[in-house]
């Protein structure tokens, strides 16, 4: 039964992707991309990746749709109809597809426990996580501790992307004015649409609560800073859409948002440096406490908080930078 469901979900993914590429209406394409992400999240869940499914649902179906719509509002809602079907591109794509499909015949079947990918460090992670770190969620343990350098790098990539967006969108204006609309007064969100506004506002506290649960329960169940950051940002963006961006900027002012971006990345780095000051290696949490296992847990909770804060700040900064840009039309 599960296999039928999985095949159905995978086939739907391909159909949705084809529809996205074929439609000339960019608005429809973005909406379909949201559906595509949700289907992808369902697929991840079927494949035992609960943490990844949660992230994909929050980021792909939530934040990404909002950002694409923000960009569409500033550019164009339709694609210009293409003149001739690009035959060369089709030929290149078909040849590449044939090559990659040929390569898949060498891959181990889905779920094969003897596949090379399951032989290397993964069994060690599964065996040692309860001993060395003592938390049930192995994904969080690998993310926060065993591969903590990697995650620090990712946080800085996200940090750099936010700085890039702010600089690119501030353009001729000073960077401090990037969240302020140039002249047009705020549209006030959906103030005159009573039903979405009432229903949406009812949802916001529960989305926030769920975001914090995902943040602080990440050691025991699916969750952690990346997912929580995206969910909390989604709640604030929903508020901004309903009440107007200026009201959202009153609740979370610009210096706070920029502080979140820098503070999250700094908190992560600071934990690593404190480990060094206490005589350990960079990000070696065991030295944070007399009990090495408790030190690991403390370190993971702190860096997950840093990740959550940084991701929330980055996504909100990007959203406000797009929202404050004037519509040229």
């Amino acid at each position: 039964m599960t296999i039928l469901f999985a095949v159905f979900l995978l086939t739907m993914l391909v159909i949705t992707a084809i529809a996205i590429v074929r439609t000339p209406d960019l608005f429809a394409a973005v909406m379909l991309l949201g559906i595509f992400s949700l289907l992808m999240a369902a697929n991840f869940f079927v494949l035992d990746a609960a943490d990844v499914a949660l992230t994909e649902a929050a980021v792909g179906a939530g934040i990404s749709t909002v950002l694409f719509l923000g960009a569409l509002a500033l550019t164009a809602a339709r694609e210009r109809s293409s003149l001739a079907p690009p035959r060369l591109a089709l030929v290149v794509v078909l040849i590449t597809a044939a090559t990659v499909v040929y390569a898949t015949f060498d891959k181990p079947a889905l779920g094969d426990p003897n596949a090379p990918v399951h032989q290397h460090v993964a069994p060690w992670y599964l065996e040692q996580t309860p001993v060395l770190i003592g938390i049930p969620n192995v994904v969080t343990a690998v993310l926060g501790s065993f591969r903590g350098y990697d995650t620090l790098g990712e946080v800085f990539v996200v940090f750099a992307a936010a700085i890039g967006v702010l600089f690119v969108l501030s353009g001729d204006r000073p960077l401090s004015a990037v969240f302020r609309p140039k002249d047009a007064p705020s549209t006030g969100g959906l103030k005159h649409h009573l039903i979405p506004r009432i229903v949406g506002k009812l949802l916001i506290p529960f989305i926030l609560l769920f975001g914090f649960y995902v943040q602080f329960h990440g050691e025991y169940g699916p969750g952690g800073g990346f997912q929580a950051g995206a969910i909390i940002a989604a709640a604030v963006i929903l508020y901004a859409v309903l009440e107007g961006e200026d009201r959202a900027l009153v609740a979370l002012p610009e210096p706070v948002l920029k502080g979140l971006v820098a503070g999250g990345a700094l908190l992560y780095t600071a934990v690593g440096l404190v480990c060094m000051l206490l005589g350990g290696n960079f990000l070696e949490y065991s030295v944070l406490s007399a009990d090495a296992v408790f030190g690991q847990q403390l370190g993971i909770i702190l860096i997950e908080a840093g990740v959550g804060v940084a991701v929330t700040g980055v996504l909100l900064c990007i959203f406000h930078a797009f929202a404050a840009r004037d519509n040229p039309a």
Partner: protein
């Protein structure tokens, strides 16, 4: 079952190629970024397909469970962070498209390139 065992990988190829096609064949810059998102999602699917172990469950250790098989946590960690990095880089791409629209008043690549040649 052997045939269906590779079905995930074929869907990966199909999605990868749909995204690739959109990136190289479409003229509209937003459509190219959407194609890039699909391409990226295909890579995520490849990694997550590899983590599955037959009869396994999500890698969250259950106390007291004996001989429980868990799926591989490593690809999940890599993709978890990649999704958030992916949305940040897509946002950067969209910001550049917005600036291109303001500078050229078009988001079609060929029209902007034609203006560059005239200038």
């Amino acid at each position: 079952m052997q045939i269906l065992g590779l079905y995930n990988y074929w869907v990966f190829v199909a999605l990868l190629m749909i995204g690739f096609y959109a990136v190289i064949a479409k003229d509209n810059l937003i459509k190219k970024l959407i194609g890039l998102s699909i391409f990226q999602a295909a890579v995520f699917l490849l990694y997550i397909s590899m983590d599955k172990v037959e009869g396994g469950t999500a890698p969250i250790i259950q106390p007291g469970a004996v001989d429980q098989i868990y799926s591989n946590p490593l690809p999940q960690v890599l993709i978890l962070t990649a999704i958030v990095v992916g949305i940040s880089t897509t946002a950067l791409g969209l910001a550049i498209v917005v600036r291109i629209k303001e500078a050229y008043d078009t988001i079609e690549e060929s029209e902007a390139a034609a203006m560059d040649r005239e200038a």
